[in-house]
């Protein structure tokens, strides 16, 4: 079954899984948006402009970083190669456009983040499935009985760990009663996600090692977790944050 899945969604088709997850996440976000005082049209508008920003921003920032390559063949700027893409640049552009859209439509940032939490949670499941299909984010060699054959070794099925963790996080986010404080739902999701990344990244064999052997993903997750705790406490102490249409 796993082999069939990997054959069907072998790269570059693994990107379809991300598109499906994003689409499903957006549908779920639409269903819950009004709880956070945001209209469906506003969700769709923000998603539309952010996705365009993600695609264009990712390509342009990649081109800037590899200016000499594009300078010699500028037509490549329009090439249909998903590899010509800077993920961080794409995400940063999408966030910036989202913020501008939110400001123009007078949407509170923390409520927006809360509204989009199901989208982020669904997308994380898609990322896990796309890792499984492409064989990236692979695990350390192991003798454990649930290890799987990948890249000529029996390895921790880190992609399956990732799918289970992200699906559980999604379930938790979906069934949990919304917090009356703006931003806490999003920060709760981010903290949980950072927590399992911190734990599971230890089993990955493709980690970049920084500062004398620390896994970069673990270090980032630890800092994200600490930031989430500080921000949650800050949001809970603000007197004017309860959001519109809260269930509590």
């Amino acid at each position: 079954m796993l082999t069939s899945f990997q054959d069907i969604f072998a790269p570059p088709r693994h990107l379809i899984l991300l598109v499906i997850a994003a689409w499903a996440g957006l549908l779920l976000t639409e269903r819950r948006a009004q709880r956070h005082g945001i209209e469906t049209e506003q969700i769709n508008g923000l998603a539309f402009y952010s996705i365009i920003g993600f695609v264009i921003g990712g390509r342009i920032l990649f081109a800037i970083q590899n200016f000499s390559a594009f300078n010699k063949s500028p037509a490549s700027l329009l090439a249909v190669n998903p590899d010509l893409f800077d993920l961080t640049g794409g995400l940063a552009t999408a966030v910036m456009i989202g913020l501008i859209y939110g400001q123009r439509n007078q949407l509170p940032v923390w409520s927006l983040l809360d509204a989009f939490t199901p989208f982020f949670a669904a997308l994380m499941i898609g990322v896990g499935f796309s890792h499984l299909a492409s064989g990236t984010a692979f695990g350390m060699p192991t003798e454990l009985p649930w290890g799987m054959e990948l890249w000529n070794a029996r390895r921790h099925p880190t992609q399956i760990y990732e799918i289970i963790a992200s699906a559980s996080t999604f379930a938790l986010v979906w069934i949990r009663r919304p917090s009356p404080y703006r931003g806490v739902d999003f920060l709760f999701f981010t903290a949980i996600t950072a927590g399992w990344h911190l734990f599971l990244s230890a089993f990955r064999a493709d980690s970049t090692l920084v500062l004398n052997g620390f896994h970069r993903e673990q270090v980032l997750a630890l800092f994200t977790l600490a930031a989430c705790f500080v921000l949650i406490e800050w949001r809970l102490t603000l007197p004017d944050t309860p959001q519109k249409n809260s269930l509590i």
């Binding site: 990997q6 054959d7 072998a10 790269p11 570059p12 088709r13 081109a63 590899n66 000499s68 390559a69 594009f70 010699k72 063949s73 037509a75 490549s76 700027l77 090439a79 190669n81 590899d83 010509l84 064989g135 990236t136 692979f138 350390m140 060699p141 890249w151 000529n152 070794a153 927590g195 911190l198 734990f199 230890a202 064999a205 493709d206 980690s207 090692l209 004398n212 052997g213 620390f214 896994h215 673990q218 270090v219 997750a221 630890l222 977790l225 600490a226 705790f229 406490e233 809970l236």
Partner: protein, 180 residues
């Protein structure tokens, strides 16, 4: 939960997270992919030895010290055909800096009689190798054509590009990363 209880919980979680990070760092001081050969970025490129239509033999492991692009292709595959001129241009531009292209034709899934006319038609000057027994396709766990592997001078795969056609900018970016 009271605020004080939450703060104690946060501190305990962060201490546990930091301890776990340190513990893992101490147990993994070397790259986990070292010494293993697999068709994935970070691993040693699986070795092979194949012949050109003229009977000349090329062995990947003998090309250490060079930047190598292994391109798996077939004459019936439109993106493979489309990216060949760009690969040839890059080969001409970088060959003096130690860049080599090994274009491995999936001969077991292709028409062997089409290969030489294709080479002549596209004026290809880099080595085109014939995989008549599906050896490289199996070693590289081929799922899609074209598949390209950018290999650095130590024989480590730096980048894998599945699908195509690759643009000149993509080729140039990846070649610049592996050039000696």
């Amino acid at each position: 939960m009271q605020r004080n209880q939450r703060i104690i919980l946060y501190i305990l979680l962060l201490i546990a997270g930091a301890a776990w990070t340190i513990l893992i760092a101490e147990s993994t001081s070397v790259a986990a992919t070292q010494g293993i050969s697999a068709p994935q970025a970070g691993f040693t490129a699986p070795d092979f030895s194949l012949k050109t239509p003229n009977g000349e033999t090329y062995t990947l492991s003998e090309l250490k010290g060079h930047a190598v692009l292994v391109n798996l292709w077939a004459t019936w595959c439109p993106p493979c055909r489309a990216e060949m001129p760009a690969i040839e241009r890059m080969y001409q531009e970088y060959k003096d800096r130690g860049f080599i292209v090994l274009a491995v034709n999936m001969t077991s899934q292709d028409d062997a009689f089409e290969v030489v006319p294709f080479i002549e038609q596209h004026a290809i000057t880099f080595p085109v190798l014939l995989d008549e027994t599906n050896t490289v396709a199996t070693l590289y766990q081929l799922r899609s054509l074209p598949s390209s592997y950018f290999i650095d001078r130590n024989g480590i795969i730096s980048e894998v590009v599945i699908g195509g056609p690759m643009s000149e900018a993509l080729l140039r970016t990846n070649i610049e990363r592996i050039i000696p």
